[in-house]
């Protein structure tokens, strides 16, 4: 088997095949434990291919950990046309030097689009992967730019996401068909956006609420939650409802230094600017052909 892998463990494509010569997937440990002649059936039965490369994962306390690779040695088609199933034989597990955690890799996988809840993509016993995703997991190769961008972008409400995108339209961030050209650029733009207009607004509201607290003791002073601003015609904004939430966000670990260390937004800047790390902290830039939403 070893001779079919590149020196970094990535399978070499067989020569003479025109497209997508191999299949890749992730399989849960519970599906293969005590099941050497793996039997897969059911309505959503995956169709495994002989020679398919698999990464094995386990779930623990809501998290997903990839810990080994294996390969489909042989596949036997059984059952009837209306109720088919496969008997699959796998090679022995090849454990990684250390486990890869999905919450670390989520921003680097095309499979994942629920970036803050990536475990949802790995609920089933078998998950199909693209060759690039397989390689990303095997090589533990995080795309830091995309990860930072996707985690933070996903955290924003739709209105803010749309506004951020509108601030990027004049730059060279997107191609004419709306695809992200370069995550290096857009990840930094998002950090600037959050650190600039957004944080400024949040801090100003916080200062305003601090001044409001100074008013305590004045007769007939309502609670902050009752504070409203209005243009007199088109309705009002319940500012008092927004303030506590933005105050919390401004004071959170994302924007403020805590006992755990500097603000994560500063840490993100530092990480994005530093050169790629050691063997265990590999970072590389995949080519992504995708839109922002």
């Amino acid at each position: 088997m070893r001779e079919n892998l590149s020196k970094r463990g990535f399978p070499n494509y067989p020569k003479g095949k025109s497209h997508y010569p191999m299949h890749f997937g992730a399989i849960r440990d519970t599906a293969i434990e005590n099941n050497p002649g793996l039997m897969l059936n059911g309505t959503f039965r995956p169709y495994l291919m002989e020679g398919e490369q698999l990464v094995v994962f386990r779930r623990s306390e809501g998290s997903v950990f990839f810990f080994a690779t294996t390969k489909v040695e042989s596949v036997e088609e059984l059952g009837t046309a209306s109720s088919p199933y496969q008997s699959v034989s796998l090679s022995g597990l090849k454990p990684f030097d250390r486990e890869r955690e999905l919450s670390v890799l989520a921003g680097s996988l095309a499979k994942v689009y629920r970036f803050l809840y990536p475990e949802r993509h790995f609920r089933r016993a078998y998950v199909r992967l693209s060759p690039e995703d397989y390689r990303t997991i095997v090589e533990d190769a995080v795309d830091l730019d995309r990860s930072v961008f996707r985690y933070l972008f996903e955290a924003l409400p739709w209105g803010l996401r749309a506004h951020f995108v509108s601030t990027c339209l004049d730059s060279d961030t997107f191609s004419s068909d709306g695809r992200v050209k370069d995550y290096r650029q857009i990840s930094r733009a998002l950090l600037d956006y959050l650190d600039g207009p957004f944080l400024q607004f949040a801090k100003l509201l916080t200062s305003m609420s601090q001044q409001f607290n100074e008013l305590q003791g004045i007769r007939n002073l309502p609670a902050l939650s009752k504070l409203t601003v209005s243009d007199g015609e088109q309705g009002s904004i319940e500012l008092g409802q927004v303030v506590p939430r933005l105050r919390e966000i401004a004071a959170s670990r994302l924007f403020s230094e805590t006992t755990f260390g500097p603000a994560l937004i500063e840490e993100a800047r530092e990480k994005l600017e530093s050169p790629t790390g050691t063997e265990n902290t590999a970072s590389y830039h995949r080519t992504w052909n995708e839109t922002i939403f």
Partner: protein
């Protein structure tokens, strides 16, 4: 922090942040971009508007313990504790009222003051209005402005245009000159003892003589704390100005 720890912390914090955002609230989201307008040209909540409210609260807080019967007069309706985003009638918004020297004073934020003589009303950012007598809580008439403050929030530096609005207002309202022992010197700290443009921006150099002539100053670097923030020109300079 190691790469893995960083990414796990970032994801965890991003999840917490997502949960903290209000589910709706288009208005304040729009406000993130300062000065952004709706398609119909109606301006919405801006940093400037919030800064104005903060300055108004700061003046009101400074009055505590210095005046009598300081209270909030709310507007009618369920959302009576409301302040204007754009100039509006005093009857439609909340303001602060207090008593000093046997008469009532109102501290208003962005509400209109009628000028009479068929002139359109003006709505200074913050105005301190003196009544000729004690007023009932239900009486929402405007008093005579004795001090004005114009709040200017900046991302960067202030500019000369910041004083133009105040120049205009001071000209129209003919504010009383600063004199030793006047009401402002008795009820407010040094920061607010002169009508002023209040800004978060660093010191702006403008013609002091013009400011003295118009009877206002500039308070720079103001972010809520009154400590160490003095108007320029100073109160003493205003008192000496003929």
């Amino acid at each position: 922090m190691e790469r893995d720890d960083f990414l796990k912390a970032l994801r965890r914090t991003a999840r917490e942040t997502k949960a903290r955002f209000p589910k709706d609230g288009r208005e304040w989201i729009d406000a993130i971009s300062t000065g952004r307008s709706h398609a119909d040209g109606r301006r919405i909540l801006t940093n400037d508007a919030i800064y104005e409210l903060m300055c108004c609260f700061a003046v009101a807080a400074a009055l505590k313990g210095q005046v009598q019967n300081l209270q909030v007069i709310q507007a009618d309706g369920e959302k009576g504790f409301r302040f204007p985003l754009k100039p509006g009638a005093k009857s439609g918004f909340a303001f602060f009222r207090f008593e000093f020297g046997g008469v009532s004073y109102d501290l208003c934020c962005g509400t209109e003051i009628d000028l009479g003589n068929g002139e359109p009303p003006e709505a200074p950012d913050i105005s301190l209005q003196r009544h000729s007598q004690l007023r009932q809580e239900t009486d929402r008439q405007c008093g005579q402005p004795i001090a004005l403050w114009d709040a200017k929030y900046h991302d960067g530096t202030a500019s000369k245009t910041d004083v133009q609005q105040m120049n205009w207002w001071c000209d129209i309202f003919n504010l009383p000159p600063c004199r030793a022992g006047d009401v402002l010197s008795q009820i407010l700290p040094a920061t607010f003892q002169v009508s002023a443009v209040i800004t978060n921006a660093p010191l702006l150099r403008v013609n002091r003589r013009q400011l003295l002539k118009r009877r206002f100053s500039i308070v720079c670097d103001f972010s809520g704390s009154r400590v160490g923030r003095s108007p320029a020109p100073s109160r003493a300079e205003h008192e000496q100005y003929p």
